[in-house]
């Protein structure tokens, strides 16, 4: 089935086309959800909601840009909705997370950790930090766009980003140190 066939089938709610779309893209989209979720079950939950949105709204995809980019956008939006729904957790920030942002500026070796490690480190972050970090670093949004999407202040977005960064750096340094020990 070509991509256009699959899209047309999904618009008609054809089960085969839906399965084909799932088979082709669910791995990629789960990779995105993992970045926004605390753990794998939450990511799978998000993924299912994203696909429900996709299958009910695929008619809105007009062929501008790649299908993959559209799917990614829907998934990120789902993650934001998910975050809004769990907004009450937003203010739960441990005091221990207030790490000085000046700590350590050394670059990281690419090879010392894998995607699994990064997902885990992200998952340990508080949801607000994780959200801002993802949107800014990987999705490439500007702080004022993030502030609008999340309904927060621009300065909040900036400060959460820089704190998220500091926490991540500290966690990765710990991880690198631990792995170094294992090698010796």
């Amino acid at each position: 089935m070509s991509e256009q066939h699959i899209i047309d089938g999904c618009i008609r709610h054809n089960r085969k086309a839906q399965q084909a779309l799932w088979n082709q893209h669910s791995g990629y989209l789960l990779g995105i959800c993992m970045r926004y979720a605390t753990d794998r079950p939450e990511a799978e939950d998000m993924l299912q909601e994203a696909f429900l949105k996709i299958f009910f709204n695929i008619g809105e995809y007009e062929g501008k840009g790649s299908l993959r980019a559209w799917l990614r956008k829907v998934t990120v939006n789902t993650a934001i909705t998910y975050w809004h729904r769990n907004l009450k957790h937003k203010h739960q920030v441990d005091i221990e997370e207030y790490v000085s942002t000046e700590a350590g500026t050394a670059g990281f070796e690419e090879d010392f950790c894998n995607a699994e490690d990064l997902y885990r480190v992200l998952g340990e972050l508080s949801p607000g930090y994780r959200m801002v970090f993802n949107l800014y670093t990987i999705e490439g949004y500007k702080h004022h766009e993030i502030a609008e999407m999340l309904g927060i202040d621009v300065n909040t977005s900036k400060s959460q980003y820089s704190r998220a960064r500091a926490v991540l750096r500290k966690k990765l340094e710990d991880l690198a140190r631990m792995k170094g020990k294992f090698i010796q």
Binding site: E44, L52, I95, L118
Partner: protein, 428 residues
């Protein structure tokens, strides 16, 4: 600023693909199917919708028909019972109690059959209608014969006078302690009546009230002596079950805060089933439940405990958390707003950047906070729990570093607190 961290995440995660298992796919497809089904769409009007429509219509039809069916059967047995009651009432007199207990069994069968036929009434033939008529008649007659047999069974073998029909009737035959029972003698007023209640208590009233306050099985004997000195006795058995004792405890040593799980320890005795009412509209049937209140407050917690015999006891503790939820805690660092003083009034919900130094507290009645610099200068004082320190002193931002605070005050139950510590004013 280096971009090592950003690049690491971008390179490793941006295009990363995960493996989605087939079970996740199956779960999702089922969920999608349900969602599509409930979002009705004429384009997708398929066999499933057709089946659903047919099912709904069928069910509606069956309900309609069964309604008219029960209506028509209700008038049938009228006029019949007098006749059949007469014949069966004679029967036990001739054949003894075995027969009457057999008819009792028949009665249950008859009831079962007639209710079992209900759903199929839409297609019932006149023959079936006829059969049910006869069942109803037999059930009525059986009910008549039961009254006869109970009278006979209450008569005791020790009856010395064949003339007098004596029975010892109790308002209840079993129950939970303390059990109140009203006894009734069928004998007339011109006799001497003696009740012995089986636990040592006696009465000479004809219809006495008696309260059993200890559990056990008691044989109650009624002795009647008539004017000619003839003695009749009758007896019955009362079973009194013990009540359980409902009791529970919570961990009182620690203060409870928003979002904490409360562990209830069940200390009930002699109970097998429980019902907890947490006071906020939530219930549990677990023995030792843990519950997370959506909001801390004063709740009336109730525990009902049932014994295996169905006896209940309950305990309610009002305002369980009244002297809980009283705490005060301070953070050890804050980051003042560099753009200028914020005034220090904060909101727990909006001060997520921690621009104001303030305690997390609950149940505070009075409060005084003083903050000193390391040189001993008083830089801030507040008597208002809602007013924290914004990091400014006389309009100028204080230098980053460690400050010492001291707080004194009272909780709403009058208990005093005095605490001191230090806080780091961060600058970033």
């Amino acid at each position: 600023m280096d971009n090592g961290l950003e690049n690491l995440f971008r390179n490793k995660l941006e295009e990363n693909e995960m493996v989605t298992g087939s079970d996740l796919k199956d779960r999702f497809m089922r969920r999608l199917g349900r969602r599509e089904f409930f979002r009705f769409n004429l384009l997708r009007f398929n066999i499933y919708y057709l089946t659903a429509a047919v099912t709904v219509l069928t069910v509606a039809g069956v309900i309609l028909f069964s309604d008219s069916g029960t209506d028509s059967s209700s008038f049938v047995p009228e006029g019949q019972p007098e006749y059949t009651a007469e014949t069966t009432a004679n029967q036990p007199a001739e054949d003894g109690p075995e027969v009457s207990s057999a008819t009792e069994g028949d009665r249950h069968d008859a009831v079962k059959q007639s209710t079992g036929d209900e759903p199929g009434t839409g297609t019932e033939s006149p023959a079936a209608e006829q059969r049910r008529e006869t069942e109803l008649i037999s059930s009525v007659s059986a009910a008549e014969s039961i009254t006869v047999s109970t009278i006979r069974r209450a008569q005791t073998p020790a009856m010395t006078s064949p003339v007098m029909v004596l029975s010892a009737d109790a308002s209840v035959s079993s129950g939970c302690v303390p059990l109140h029972v009203t006894f009734t003698s069928a004998a007339g007023d011109d006799v001497k009546t003696t009740w012995s209640f089986g636990d040592g208590g006696t009465s000479s009233l004809r219809n006495p009230d008696y309260i059993y306050d200890v559990p056990g099985t008691f044989r109650v004997t009624l002795t009647v002596t008539d004017s000619r000195g003839r003695i009749s006795t009758a007896s019955t058995v009362i079973e009194v079950s013990d009540r359980p004792v409902a009791s529970f405890a919570i961990d009182k040593d620690r203060s409870f805060e928003e979002g904490d799980k409360v562990h209830f320890t069940n200390l009930s005795k002699g109970a097998v089933d429980y019902l907890w009412d947490f006071g906020d509209g939530t219930f549990s049937t677990l023995s030792d439940p843990s519950y997370r209140y959506g909001q801390m407050g004063n709740y009336d917690v109730k525990l009902v405990a049932w014994s295996a015999e169905g006896c209940a006891d309950s305990i309610t503790v009002s305002d369980l958390f009244a002297d809980m939820g009283m705490y005060i805690r301070f953070p050890n660092a804050f980051v003042p707003n560099r753009g200028g003083p914020t005034g220090g009034y904060y909101n727990q919900r909006t001060d997520e950047e921690s621009q104001v130094f303030h305690p997390v507290a609950s149940g505070i009645a009075s409060y005084n906070l003083k903050i000193y610099s390391k040189a001993g200068l008083l830089v801030f004082e507040s008597n208002d729990i809602e007013l924290g320190w914004d990091g400014y002193h006389r309009g100028g931002l204080c230098a980053p570093g460690v400050y010492v605070w001291k707080v004194r005050g009272t909780y709403r139950n009058g208990q005093q607190f005095i605490m001191a510590g230090d806080v780091t004013l961060l600058n970033y």
